[in-house]
Amino acid sequence: MTLGVDNRAASSRAVAWIRRVQVASVVTWGLLAAVVLVNAMVQPTFFTLYSITSTFATFVPLVFAAVAQAIVVIGGGLDLSIGTIVALSSVVALKVMNGSDALIGVGFLAALATGAACGLVNGLLTAVVRLQPLIVTFATASVFGGITLVVLPSPGGAVPPAMTQGFRLAFAGIPVPVWCVLVAVLIWLVLSRTKFLRHVYAVGGDAQAAYASLVPVVAVRILTFVTAGALAGLAAMGVLANTGSGDPFIGADVALDSIAAVVLGGIALRGGRGGAIGAIAGAIILALVTNVLFFLNVPTTFRELASGLVIIAALALSVLTTRKGVVR
């Protein structure tokens, strides 16, 4: 009798533990390991410092965008405007810095402020005017993209040399782009200990219950988009450091890629569950898939198609394995 109760207690504890770890994260890490393995096979130089630096350098922007998207999705929203926020922030920072190394700090502030301001617009429209996040950010994506074109009508402009060169250096034996990814992880770990992020989870899980529990739902929703916008601003600096010049069309794929990264990372699109570490892993998976296709000599014509198919397969795998847990 006692034994039975103990068993049940133990098994329900085990169930709780599995829920916390989340089945999806097992899939996420499995996929990451697989894609790294495949990449190493098709690209023998994969683990050299040079290769790691340039690979990481390409996906730093997507990593920050994925953290931004993760926060919005956990809060029960969706942000289709992340890509053009990245573009707008990058061109604003580009103009502010004007190629001068001395103004890099100001450039960072300009990118953060631009991103946060865009996020504030999204936040006010969804939380105060109460429009659907999907519709709001679909529209603001065009607005921000339009403003970007006004600021910088065609690709060009010079990024401060210290930024582009510094991005290729190594610090304490670790390439700077890898440090950037670690910073993204750190930002998430710090955020996840704040009251604000607790409330984001609560609002995403059940906004009405959160309201009844005295969570300031409207403020949390606004701040969610503002935080995401600021992170998109950081992604913009990554873009500039990587490409070395400005491009008003840079963000075209970022929004959808960040959503794919979030789903790959095991974050439920219904909100309230998951964490941005998974989304970072998801972003890395997406970037490496492109890398693998390149080294497999897949013709450029088919690369887009192939990467789409791989993403669909990965998404299906992670969603199908979580669904069981939801239905119970």
Binding site: S12, R19, S213, R328
Partner: protein, 517 residues
């Protein structure tokens, strides 16, 4: 001086007065029951106190000082916490995170987990006998049973150390042992000076735990009684008051022609229900609101899955496994919420009237003859004397009563054998009410079997040939003909016997012959 007093509380919802000058006076350290029949305003009064409903007018004094409560935050700041049936727990979060949600202890914006961990563990340990062994602070709420969730909800309110704790039907989903545990906790709280406001449909619980009780009737406070000095029958008398005897519909020569026969029906919210409805009979569903009446109608209509039992229509067994099948079998449901379930509010009256019965009038199974549709719709409008501008006007242009008549009319065009009405006169003004009554009577006279769920006891008394009273999803009592009076309906709903000391079992046994049992 009382801890808190509320006087002159008024609240209207459209044309309905939910509270009409209600008052409530609470003392520190007491358990105060709030009692009243359906629609008496106890929930609204609670919500005003908790800040989730803002009153049209109210004077609230705490410790003799006037205060205003406009939103939940105001109430919380004054030390008022509420536990409702609709839980305020976030399913996807752990028990621990839910317990501190909104009041997380922080240092410089960061959540201080250690500060709350001890408190959380202590309260979970206190609830251990009710929660069972597996539940810890890291258990996700979605994996708990409704009873466990309710206990966590209570723990969450208790953790906020309220001066006034409102428990609104907090025992509904609890087992007997869990209720005992809650009562122990309530006694500890009141011993420490907390005031607990207690609402429960189980009168037995009110008699056990409450020191005093305030009784509401039609939005007014009629009395505050000391429970120890009051008998159950006195309580019922105070709740019902001196209601003018409803004018009953002329006794129908009861036919033995059985239209609907239900045996052992079990579905979500309904257990083992037997029904017999004869041709031309109006069967009422009574009891306190939310005891399975709407759920029973939904199950009969095939909208929720039937787990066990059988339904016979005119002696033929039917399987209402979906709404479409039920409609085809001659069932019609006039739902409780017109706006979301009964009508396409933005569409024309014409379309709303045609939609259910369109199949019957199709030309070659495809074409719609507009002239015919308009003719049929115009007939229905005239027959039920629905006041409309034109058939092409949207339903939003109609008053509540006329909109409800459109719902009834659209089903009548399908010529149903059984009509299920779910609180059809809720939020409807008096004159439209009378017209709807006339329609229901006419329906019955034309040979349709009618089942009417109503939260209004007077309505049941006025319309029904028979009323079955439901309690927690089961039939508890049946009242026939002249037995259907307001006070007997209330007594039956609260499981009080014919005499003073009647128990549940005696009440059932005393049900007259010809009952379903």
């Amino acid at each position: 001086m009382p801890l808190l007093s509320m006087t002159g509380v008024h609240k209207r919802y459209g044309g309905v007065r939910a509270l009409d000058g209600a008052s409530l006076s609470l003392e520190a350290g007491e358990v105060h029951g709030l009692l009243g029949p359906n629609g008496s305003g106890k929930s609204t009064l609670n919500k005003v106190l908790a800040g989730t409903v803002s009153p049209d007018a109210a004077t609230i004094e705490l410790d003799g000082q006037p205060i205003t409560i406009g939103k939940p935050r105001d109430a919380a700041a004054r030390g008022i916490a509420a536990v409702y049936q609709q839980l305020s727990l976030v399913d996807s979060l752990t028990v621990g995170r839910n317990l501190t949600l909104g009041v997380e202890p922080t240092r410089a914006g960061f959540v201080d987990n250690r500060a709350s961990a001890a408190e959380i563990d202590e309260v979970l340990e206190r609830l251990r006998p009710g929660l069972g062994p597996g539940v810890t602070a890291t258990t996700e709420v979605s994996s708990l049973t409704p009873g466990q969730q309710q206990l966590v909800e209570i723990a969450k309110a208790v953790l906020r150390r309220p001066r006034i704790l409102i428990l609104d039907e907090a025992t509904a989903s609890l087992h007997r042992d869990q209720v005992q545990l809650l009562f122990e906790i309530i006694r500890e709280l009141t011993a420490a000076g907390t005031c607990v406001v207690f609402v429960s449909h189980r009168l037995e619980e009110v008699m056990t735990i409450c020191d005093r009780a305030t009784i509401l009737r039609t939005g007014r406070t009629v009395a505050t009684l000391t429970i120890a000095e009051t008998s159950e029958s006195e309580l019922v008398r105070t709740m019902v008051g001196d209601v003018a005897q409803a004018e009953r519909r002329a006794e129908l020569a009861r036919t033995d022609d059985m239209v609907l026969r239900v045996r052992g029906l079990t579905a979500p919210g309904v257990s083992d229900v037997d029904l017999d409805v004869h041709r031309g009979e109006i069967l009422g569903l009574g009891g306190l609101q939310g005891q399975g009446q709407s759920e029973l109608l939904l199950a009969l209509f095939g909208a929720t899955p039937i787990r066990a039992g059988e339904i016979e229509l005119n002696g033929r067994r039917v399987a209402n496994t979906s709404v479409v099948k039920a409609t085809g079998n001659g069932f019609a449901l006039v739902p409780g919420d017109r706006g979301s379930q009964g009508l396409f509010m933005q569409r024309a009256i014409q379309e709303n009237l045609s939609i259910v019965s369109l199949r019957r009038r199709l030309l070659a199974a495809l074409g719609i003859s507009m002239r015919r549709e308009r003719g049929v719709a115009a007939d229905a409008v005239q027959r039920l004397s629905i006041k409309i501008g034109g058939l092409d006007d949207p339903v939003t242009s109609l008053s509540g009563g006329n909109a409800q008549k459109v719902v009834i009319a659209k089903w009548l065009l399908n010529e149903p054998a059984v009509v299920l009405l779910d609180d059809p006169t809720k939020g409807v003004d008096i004159s439209a009410k009378a017209e709807i009554y006339a329609i229901v009577r006419e329906l019955a006279d034309s040979g349709v079997a009618v089942i009417l769920n109503s939260s209004d006891d007077v309505e049941l008394a006025e319309l029904c040939d028979r009323v079955i009273v439901l309690y927690e999803g089961r039939i508890r009592t049946q009242l026939v003909g002249d037995e259907i009076t307001s006070d007997r309906l209330v007594a039956a709903a609260l499981l009080i016997g014919e005499g003073d000391q009647g128990t549940v079992d005696e009440t059932v046994a005393a049900a007259p012959d010809g009952s379903d049992r």
